[in-house]
Symmetry: C2
């Protein structure tokens, strides 16, 4: 293991590094022009503008290995980047000396095998392009995110992206059979064999997935495909109480033979904020404190989703655990119901600045966590507007707090640390996660240092040292790892 | 990191170590009497009789941490053991200086939450006791192995056990939400929170699962439960060719809404060897080269498995891709069909000695791999009887070779290395695994050194060093790791 002193951080990239990158890679691979750098330096929420002065975008995996080997030799640290749609500042360079390594040119779909139910993709493929390739082959790739036209699968893998269909199909990790990854010294480790069972090694794949580019650069993956659903129903329900959501979901999962693919909880404020976005359909139901949006889908041509839904919903409406319901009667009505949910994040922007929390607790704890967290915020500042929505079956909520209607955005955002602390302390009391599906990046790092089990952080540090001993990958992200802090 | 020299291996356990273990733990926790040691030293296939002279069986997790801390301080290496039913010598001590650490007294079911679909168990629970506890709470724990009454879940976790229902429910890894593990220095790392989504850390859990006791001692786990099936059908099919198996399975999976929970391929020789075991029912079908045993099950009360089966099997029998079929009409007829498969491993013993291979390839590769591997064995020795069966949907076959009917068992077994090499070379050509579900232990270690990607082995070694720097856990198992080779 080399000592830190071997690889000092300098204040700018030495021209030698850039020259060598230009010489060894193709001419379009190295960007230093400020205008062309800009899109790589933008950060989605504007919290962490990138400070890098060079972007390398190799054309293929061999060139990725070369670029990493060159940076490694020059002691330059690397910020891996895919679609740059992350929300926690994980892809933004923190200093002028960091080289952004973009995988965006690795856009090949290397192989698709519908019978085997696999697709092998390079990490620069957009999520939507993978969904479309699967669909063309008569298969479903179920990972589904609002940013799917822009985000690239390398980023989905690096952050173990979740999204709307985790309930039925799992997170990116569970959808991934194998990966190809370039290590800190430029060597390629690969397990793209597509084996369903292999106990010959430690589970290295899952160490890289979700490590947010701190252990290696994922260049390709073999992903799982599923039979296409042949029927689906979307239903929106008004609930008198949030406690009703989970029992109803569990009953539907059991009665439908696990056909529930999504279950989104929406608070009345979140529903109202979705309505602020132009083009959002009107809420078809009577006002309620909570709504539950469910999608059922099945590849079984004999599945009778309507009978299943009515067998659960009729008694639920009779006993008052559901107060109103709308069920899709066509693909377009299903899409309209979904818009009520997907409009929320953008609609929320029209209501002012927000401080967002990406938290999870055990699903059964949600009905205890929510009233406590909401009460704590009201006590702190009764004018803050909680815009709560998310994946109730996974126990994962976007506990977003919108500024008071009267007041300045800047004043509100200046209270971020204090508000984070209130929410995350309650999450910790319920043994939850403060980085459920978006990752840690820079945004959650200080709170993670405060909330996380110190032994977990120590073990992560030991693994970081074992796999990236010179600390060239994504410093100051994901782990409070001080050996090479800049 | 301490140097190896700090912890020299001695030729026997110093009395001081045993004294301290006796003093700090309860009186029944330390066994040195040879008669009482015997069951812990037996190895299921008789290939790796244990050489240990002391077994420690702490009564609780606190005592496990004490035992490990004491061994660590005395420089004694530890062989973790659960049910001692493994088939690769992973739980057998290789020398008199190794301390067997049994988790068998950790038998508590700490919590069961049927609504949340989780059960929290200690690692000494037998698999069958967990299945029964889940069933009593109206839930299914789907891991299913022939040894389930004896094996303990600590071993299932350490080896990432597979078994009969992986196709529908996944391996032990996929059934595990979190674990509690005692590290090499005696500290406890735990993530038993039951979160469905948590991207706040590296995936440490999956590093311990499947590491065969080389990175830590798993003391508890939170496992996933599923709705109980309300209907099931078992069918046995005669196939004119092995090529027919996978397309048929894929079609049934799609048409049934993923209701196929098991798909076992059985060669004619394997079927005949099952018949050698007393109590095996007669094969109800006409003789064929290959058989396929399928189980369909669904929690959906409206699922119509009979219609689904006939919609696939009738055309298949008409076009000749299935030549004969039997479908269960009751629970007892379902069980009788299963006995034809489960009798094989014991039946095989009546035919003489066997050399076994636990291999996997991509499922779609099976029909290419099988003829090549069978031809290679025939060419090597046409009198060897291949008894091939296994989990066709996972691409995982038990490619077992029974000795020639005429000839000595010892002569045959003496050819193990040479026969392993023939089979594993073909597996390697098809990018398969030579340790698909039973683990590496001692049995596959030399072949793994020969077949595995050297970079994988290097990364495993670095992780081993990071998490068990003094190499106290399960030396000479799982990884060809030479820094502390005895």
């Amino acid at each position: 293991m080399l000592a830190a002193a071997c690889h000092p951080s300098t204040t700018e990239n030495p021209p030698m590094l850039i020259d060598e990158l230009r010489r060894k890679l193709d001419p379009t691979a190295v960007i230093t022009d400020p205008h062309r750098l800009a899109p790589y330096m933008q950060e989605r929420r504007g919290l962490y503008p990138g400070k890098g002065q060079v972007v390398v975008r190799p054309a293929n995996v061999r060139d990725i290995t070369q670029a990493i080997e060159i940076c490694h030799r020059h002691g330059a640290s690397i910020v891996p980047q895919a679609g740059n749609t992350g929300t926690v500042g994980g892809g933004s360079p923190r200093s002028a000396t960091e080289v952004v390594l973009s995988v965006e040119r690795l856009e090949a779909i290397r192989e698709i095998d519908p019978d085997d139910g696999t697709i092998t993709v390079e990490s620069g493929c957009t999520l939507a392009s993978i969904q479309r390739a699967a669909y063309s082959a008569g298969r479903l790739f179920p990972l589904s995110l609002p940013s799917q036209e822009q985000c690239r699968v390398g980023g989905n893998l690096a952050t173990n992206a979740g999204g709307l269909n985790v309930l039925r199909y799992g997170t990116t990790r569970e959808l991934t059979l194998g990966i190809e990854v370039v290590l800190a010294d430029g060597r390629i480790w690969s397990n793209l064999t597509g084996l369903r069972k292999d106990n010959s090694a430690y589970d290295l794949k899952d160490l890289f997935i979700g490590s947010e580019g701190t252990l290696g650069v994922i260049t390709a993956a073999k992903l799982r495909l599923f039979p296409l659903p042949r029927c689906r129903r979307v239903t929106l329900l008004s609930l008198p109480s949030v406690d009703a959501a989970l029992p109803l979901l569990r009953q539907l999962q059991a009665e439908s033979g696990d056909a529930v693919v999504a279950a989104e909880l929406i608070s009345s404020t979140a529903m109202a904020m979705g309505q602020l976005l132009e083009g959002t359909p009107a809420n078809p139901l009577a006002e309620a404190d909570w709504y539950l949006l469910l999608e059922l889908a099945s590849p079984d041509p004999r599945a009778d989703l309507d009978t299943c839904l009515s067998s659960i919903l009729e008694p639920a409406m009779n006993d008052g655990s559901v107060s109103d319901a709308a069920i899709s009667s066509s693909e377009s009505s299903a899409e309209r119901l979904w818009l009520l949910r997907t409009a929320i994040p953008d609609g929320q922007k029209h209501a002012g600045a927000s401080i967002k929390h990406d938290i999870s607790v055990r699903p059964g704890e949600l009905s205890k966590f929510l009233p406590k967290a909401l009460a704590a915020i009201t006590e702190y500042d009764k004018d803050i507007r909680p815009c709560v929505f998310g994946h109730v079956g996974d126990g994962n909520l976007h506990f977003n707090l919108t500024q008071p209607a009267q007041g300045s955005a800047d004043d509100f955002l200046a209270r971020r640390a204090e508000i984070n602390r209130i929410v995350h302390d309650i999450v910790a009391k319920h043994h939850g996660s403060i980085a459920a599906e978006h990752g840690v990046g820079q945004l959650r790092l200080s709170e993670l240092s405060r909330c996380a089990d110190p032994l977990s952080l120590e073990l992560m540090g030991r693994i970081k040292d074992a796999l990236d001993p010179n600390g060239i990958f994504n410093r100051g992200k994901k782990i409070p790892w001080t050996r090479f802090a800049q």
